[in-house]
Symmetry: C2
Subunit: 278 residues, 2 copies
């Protein structure tokens, strides 16, 4: 896969995942490869500085990698963010992987969010969602188009039917508000059943559900083009900008300094804000 005929693709700068448990790594590699195969040719090369593409906290106990690529002119993709964080914590290590695909206002189709927060080899919190770009209460047709008719809620149910899987609520009310009514927001606790139970769930059910959600997003959202009116477009951009601002504020500005120190945190947040154009 090449970004253009002239240069090798900037793809997968975060793809190594040197610290992830193997099933978590395999899932992420599969997901990023799928995105890459479908959207990579329409993405511009990364302009993220090398000290954000890869970074670490003082002493090296915390490491991370983050890449953001913008969509080319012919793409409905605004940007794709891929990242991993790895931190030593008292209980072992914390591994967070994120895939965030944001669309332009050339469509009103939902964005894609996938985040896996593995606190130990036997516990995982995860969010997977098609993020709505409109108030669903005011736009039942939009709810039908992207959530009812795509059957994405059945996919969510499949995962929630696994006995070790429990609903999870973000502590942030804003993050809860941003999620759709079909969002996968769960915790998986394998406790005494141990690592092999978690590996099995990740390799079978989570793998299948994550890929199905990505397939729905790639087929129904990423390729969608819609002529929006002036006001509708302005409303959409205002809402998108708020989501960008608030998620950086809640998710990153609040947590990165603690894990990586203020200097690294600032550098990473600045690179994101630049790519987000906020």
């Amino acid at each position: 896969v090449r970004a253009s005929m002239d240069q090798p693709a900037a793809a997968s700068q975060v793809m190594g995942f040197p610290h992830l448990p193997p099933p978590h790594r395999d899932l992420m590699v599969d997901l990023l490869s799928t995105i890459e195969a479908r959207l990579g040719p329409h993405l511009l090369p990364s302009v993220v500085p090398s000290d954000v593409l890869s970074f670490q906290g003082q002493g090296g106990a915390s490491r991370g990698a983050l890449d953001i690529r913008s969509g080319g002119q012919d793409s409905s993709v605004d940007f794709i963010l891929e990242s991993w964080l790895h931190c030593k914590v008292p209980s072992g290590s914390l591994n967070i992987t994120t895939l965030f695909a944001f669309l332009k206002a050339s469509t009103d189709a939902p964005h894609l969010l996938m985040e896996f927060i593995q606190g130990s080899p036997t516990s995982l919190i995860l969010f997977m969602d098609l993020l709505p770009r409109k108030d669903l209460v005011l736009h039942p047709d939009y709810l039908d188009e992207f959530y009812q008719n795509t059957n994405v809620d059945k996919v969510r149910q499949e995962l929630e039917n696994v006995p070790q899987v429990l609903p999870y609520r973000s502590s942030s009310l804003y993050i809860r508000s941003v999620l759709s009514p079909t969002a996968v927001a769960v915790q998986i606790n394998c406790g005494a059943e141990g690592e092999s139970a978690m590996e099995e769930i990740m390799r079978v059910q989570l793998d299948s559900v994550a890929k199905e959600i990505m397939r729905i997003w790639l087929d129904k959202c990423a390729r969608s083009i819609k002529q929006l009116g002036e006001t509708e477009r302005a409303d959409l951009l205002r809402r998108d900008t708020l989501i960008k601002n608030k998620t950086v504020e809640i998710d990153l500005a609040a947590n990165l300094p603690r894990l990586f120190g203020p200097d690294v945190a600032n550098r990473v947040v600045e690179a994101i804000q630049k790519a987000y154009r906020i």
Copy 2:
């Protein structure tokens, strides 16, 4: 409590609850009495026809009562709907009690929804929420004012910490969208522990949580007055009207005919639509 000095209050026409298990009845009587004490004096007498105030299906296996009273000129209440439905079902009897308090556009404060669906003496599905009147993603200040600062999520957590209580999702994606991120949407299953466990939960935890949510709504929402701009007010009314329309469509028009036959169902839905002005 009187609607005016001239006539006895039309209050509590549904208050008998002849078919409810005692703890369910006690809770509803307490909740409706609290609403009555605080808002009754500012409500107009009911104009719901007597064959909707009390109705039954063919053969009398299904019975129901529904009252709606509008707020007077000096009240920020648009209307208050109180109802109960009782139906014989294969597993015994189904009892649904509803309290729905809708505010006018003289404020943008949330509406109140409380619904208890008791499918058997040992199982209950319940919804309790302050229904947002704005897109929370676009209005983080609104989220802070009515949901963050009121600590209503702590109240929800209290109930969800009870071991027999599990999160519950409405099968309707629209209903899920209408609920706030702090909505209580749970099922309580006491199974083998039997009726006494359910009675205990209803008399202790549910009682306390329901009353606290009602207190927050009465103190922070029902008394709220806010001067809204022309556009803001129009947006609010458009959203409120959609919520009224869709909830009647999803909740009542879909279920009442099955339980009460088409004639009774039509009569009840018409009375609601008239009071809702939709």
